[in-house]
Amino acid sequence: MTRNSIVFDNVSYNFGKKEIFKKLSFEVPAGQTVGIMGPSGTGKTTLLRLIGGQIQPDNGTILVEGKDLKKIKRTELFELRKCLGMLFQSGALFSDLTVFENVAFPLKEHTKLNGEMIRYLVLIKLNSVGLRGAAHLFPRELSGGMQRRVALARAMALDPKLIMYDEPFTGLDPIALGVISNLIKDVGSVYECTNVIVSHDIEETARISNLLYVLSEGEIIGQGSPQDLKKDDSPRLKQFLNGLPDGPVPFHYPAPEYMDSLIGMKNTERAIIKRGD
């Protein structure tokens, strides 16, 4: 029987009055690379925050590496996070630490390795993302794409069981994109690590994923291997995969009729225009 790294069982989550997920259920098998795709604002980053236990669902159960996130204590959650890695969309590097110190941070915090061993490991991780030469630099001295590569090295520092990637391909040049996507794939296959990739990049995500989920309006509109999804005739899925503006998946955020908005200006809108904001 396949072991699941992540299980979502009827998970609902609301942000204010907006319903982000409606009874969402899916599994991420251990050791697989799973891509989660969907239009902007569909809650992909929120999904990763739920998996990381940074926010709690309103209803439903989330199991990560067999632990129910609603039932475990705060100390157990931090213990669990030691075997998780996460690449944030912004990189989220510690701005007062150098590149080397950023990657060394999890190793210093969670291992008893000596300084020389930590140095070896950091240099190996930095070399894998092509930034060994930038070890002495501060994050502010790097481009956005380079910061994300350092963040990737940091996420992999402890060789976690599960790594979550929030838009890992954004802001990378074609060479870095190829190297990083292969690196993610290799990490999954060599270390038997589970990869969860949240991305808009359909082509690149499909290339390295064993399983894809497509999210829209709080629910899964398609799932399966990249080949299965290509064959799927669902109009919502086809619209997303082919990048079509018109279809069942709305491009516009919920709003009144366009003409009504243009003609019937509200007092608040009038005040904003008058202020020149």
């Binding site: 990381g52 940074q54 931090f78 996070r81 944030f88 989220a92 701005s95 999890p106 963040a151």
Partner: protein, 259 residues
């Protein structure tokens, strides 16, 4: 109209109560966490950041205020021929009142606002979230060292402020205005009691340090992750700290000096 006003009052009250709850939760989390010996260097670093880097502003302000107190005191006391009590007056005012209060106000402006801005920016750039995901609790790693650092340094800064102020007062009174040195220091020595005056001043600055660093940490940790949110949080730190220092000063004076 009345219902609308009541709704607004209700909403505001709920916001204040919820904010107080979050502030108490942050404080209790920072205090309750099991101390980690690895955090001692972080506390020392904060003592440097919050304390040592504030010394210049504390020394300059203490000097200026001590000199002004001596000048003002002299002009009044010389009329009744009591200029020999000038040292006592300067010392008591500095040790019991101005030292703790002004150093706390300066601390809120320099160190408190810096703490708020630093933590608020860490939140806005997801550094706190990434630390959590690495399995390191930001309360233990970021909040607690700053809390202890700020709590430890303010009483020391207040003492330094008072000492420099008294020295500046002696320079003005003795070396410039010609007050007899022996009476300046001996009257001060007789009138200032360590337990009645100095310790009570230190207690005041301990309370102010606790409140200022708590407000600073909470405002940063609870700030909205936007430029406006950060600016509001920094302003709130200085404004709330200043008001609380002055209000608490009144009640502490009332309690400690048995008026």
């Amino acid at each position: 109209m009345l219902i609308h006003a009541l709704k607004q009052i209700g909403r505001l009250s709920l916001e204040i109560l919820s904010s107080m709850g979050r502030a108490l939760r942050l404080l209790s989390s920072a205090l309750i966490r099991r101390p980690d010996h690895r955090n001692i260097p972080l506390v020392i670093r904060q003592i440097y950041q919050l304390g040592v880097l504030s010394i210049l502003i504390i020394v300059c302000s203490g000097f200026a205020i001590g000199a002004v107190l001596a000048l003002q005191g002299y002009t009044q006391l010389v009329r009744v021929g009591s200029e020999s009590a000038l040292g006592l007056g300067v010392a008591l005012v500095l040790v019991m009142e101005i030292g703790p209060v002004v150093s706390a106000l300066l601390f809120a402006g320099r160190a408190g606002s810096a703490v708020t801005a630093e933590i608020g920016l860490m939140k806005a750039t997801e550094q706190l979230a990434s630390m959590e995901m690495i399995g390191v609790d930001p309360i233990t790693r970021i909040i607690a060292p700053r809390f202890w650092g700020g709590f430890i340094v303010l009483p020391l800064l207040a003492l330094m402020f008072s000492v420099v102020g008294i020295w500046a007062g002696s320079l003005v009174a003795v070396d410039w205005l010609g007050v007899y040195s022996g009476s300046f220091w001996s009257v001060m020595e007789q009138g200032v009691n360590f337990f009645d005056h100095v310790i009570k001043g230190i207690i005041k600055s301990i309370v102010f340090g606790f409140v200022v660093i708590w407000i600073s940490l909470y405002q940063g940790y609870d700030s909205l992750p936007t430029s406006e949110g950060l600016s509001t949080a920094t302003t709130n730190t200085v404004v709330f700290s200043s008001v609380w220092i002055l209000v608490l000063d009144f009640f502490l004076t009332l309690m400690m000096f048995e008026l």
